[in-house]
Symmetry: C2
């Protein structure tokens, strides 16, 4: 297929990860290097930047600063949580996108994000095809939640898993230091999938195993939880627990629900404070000294302990995304297919955007133990190779030297 | 003075730090290497290990594992929070310590800890001198709180400061990612001194400055706080704040006090949950989306991002402690005297235990801005050199390879 000449837009959306900028860099660098792409724009705050005609000219940035992007957390181009209506319901946003694409002669659109972003991507792709505007749309996955369909794992997950396992090891050692016992509850992100929380189990391969792990894939029973914690606390004098923010009772209501009621732009309940709720319940039941620790934002932005594997894979996926779109592919997402039988091998593969969008991949039953309070070796085997390798993040005065963009806006 | 022959005991006490094991290693290694020291014991859970006759034989440990101690967080020998009565009031504990010291022919006692531990150390030293038992007692400071008298800074502080500044940078980038504004509150440890919270200001030297910093050295005014946050949020769309867990109103009551009432073994109020309290107050006042992040234990155990300067200084101080005690010194603490006029130079110096104990060093007025909501350049100049350098922590499968002791108990 012909190499379509025109500008490209790169956008980032949804919750940031430690390596979402590695993805952006992979695309931006490949696009800047390709003669068919006349100009590389960054969508300021994702699709909102397109709708509001706020585009950053990436060609104006210092290549040396751009080269720091893979080691810089958060979304350097800005993110958004904006859910577009279906074009069948309301075409306003799509007409505006078409207008902007025409204005800047955009023929390539790369959108980096999770489930909701792949949904946005699929809708834009479908609309542009319908109206006959030639533009190649590629979804570039990222989400620490690791819940995208098709791909073996999602860029961003490995770094979050590495941070969580490392931190859990450190907290484990700290929580076992006194002669008086304690119960420690570590809360990880994950509304509907337990991938992040399960990563605490990696600490077990280094002698710092969580005693109990509760995941949203199984219904939570407060009485059973309190009994399990109490039994271990009485036996060992200590108990350290990993929980997913999204654990819920059999009726579907979140355990943390009583605490907060606000919702984000997509109608998801905003969770948080679960660790404190559970620590309190344990204290009342057992009389133990308890501590609830919420890993909060830290687990998605701790670039200083990002996974080298994650960074390398993210950059490779993005480069491939550009090559594929230049060769004519559209409406796809670049993901991974991995083989762990003899060491770890990871290959890139294209997945249909329409199939990926809006389907949340949960942990399969064989990765969760029968009692529903821990993971199996199958999960360890799956996750362990992902956290290997360190980030090449440069330091300045002992602190990270993150990328600083000039942010020059297109007129 | 003669080189006294006998065994030595090393103990760790109080809240752990990322580098308290670097201190332990400095002492253990120097003691193991010295022919005058016949045996090196680790007090299991600090002074409790002495009282309970639970001593670990350090000579039995694999030197290769011991060499990992400097990079391992928490207290490898176990810690305690046990406050001994004054010998004038009750001699029971002191008689027991004397009995154990005689039993194991202990002539050297090194106690690593913060304020309360230096107090324990001073009492033991005084008692042994009074009863005429020849034993050299040396305090080895560590505390992330940085509140020990005399010494320029405390081992452990620099690593916590580095973690806090690094994490603050990452949270800053994450908190500024969306097109919709937010107010973020980051809570750091520090009951009475603001040293840890102030470290957030280092992030400002890398473009990620906290908008406001509230320290326990100044009385907190909720209305003023809400006004300051609101003004910045309205002006910039964002506001990111660092607060000390120990901020208090003019009457001395902790801002977080309503939340928890438990106290630890020393009668200190147990704090926590402040970030959530403030985030809530801001939300009510401004309507902004808010997030409260408590750095919790992570700031004292994040060995994976420990300061190289901290580790090197901790080991040097401990080595010096052993040399001094072998040469006859007793009743002292090894601290630092630093010169920052032409680069950073740090020298070791001895301080009187009696003077160090039970005095909390707060931040001096010249390091806090006039409005009481930030720090001055004097603090930046003080703190910046401490966080330089990285830990040589080895990794295994992408995760930290921390020290694993055999823990062989003396009969």
């Amino acid at each position: 297929m012909s190499r379509l000449e025109g500008a490209c837009i790169v956008g980032q959306s949804g919750g940031p990860t430690s390596v979402i900028n590695a993805s952006a860099y992979g695309v931006i660098k490949a696009a800047l290097d390709d003669p068919a792409i006349t100009r590389v724009y960054g969508a300021y705050h994702g699709i909102r930047g397109v709708l509001d005609d706020q585009l950053l000219i990436m060609d104006e940035e210092d290549p040396k600063e751009l080269a720091l992007l893979p080691y810089t957390p958060s979304s350097a181009l800005g993110s958004c949580r904006y859910k577009m209506k279906k074009p069948e319901e309301d075409e306003t946003d799509y007409r505006r996108i078409l207008e902007i694409f025409k204005k800047y002669q955009v023929r390539y659109f790369f959108y980096i994000g999770g489930n909701d972003s792949m949904d946005t991507c699929a809708k834009v792709s479908r609309y542009l095809a319908k109206v006959g505007y030639e533009c190649r749309v590629m979804g570039v996955p990222k989400t620490i939640d690791n819940d995208l369909f098709g791909t073996d794992h999602c860029p961003g997950y490995a770094s979050a898993a590495k941070y969580i396992a490392t931190t859990f090891m450190e907290v484990y050692l700290d929580a076992h230091v006194y002669d008086t016992g304690t119960v420690t509850i570590v809360e990880c992100m994950g509304r509907h999938a337990g991938w992040l929380t399960a990563a605490c189990a990696l600490a077990g391969t280094k002698g710092c195993a969580p005693d109990l792990i509760y995941l949203p894939e199984r219904d939570f029973d407060m009485n059973q939880f309190l009994q399990e914690v109490d039994a271990l606390y009485r036996k060992n004098g200590y108990c350290i627990v990993a929980v997913s923010e999204g654990i819920h009772y059999a009726d579907g209501s979140f355990v943390s629900e009583a605490k907060t009621a606000a919702t984000d732009g997509f109608g998801h309940a905003q969770l948080g404070g679960l660790a404190a709720v559970l620590a309190n319940a344990v204290k009342e039941k057992t009389g133990a000294k308890t501590r609830g620790i919420e890993l909060s934002l830290l687990q998605r932005c701790a670039a200083h302990v990002a996974s080298g594997t994650d960074i390398a894979e993210s950059m490779a996926a993005r480069k491939r995304a550009v090559e594929e779109t230049l060769a004519g592919t559209t409406g796809k997402m670049v993901g991974f297919v991995c083989d762990r039988t003899n060491g770890y091998r990871c290959q890139l593969q294209l997945f249909d955007l329409e199939q990926v969008a809006n389907y949340e991949k949960k942990m399969p039953p064989e990765m969760i133990n029968e009692a529903g309070n821990g993971v199996t070796q199958a999960f360890i085997d799956y996750c362990a190779p992902l956290v290997v390798g360190e980030s090449a993040l440069p330091r300045e005065d002992g602190l990270p030297r993150f990328c600083r963009l000039k942010k020059v806006f297109a007129k």
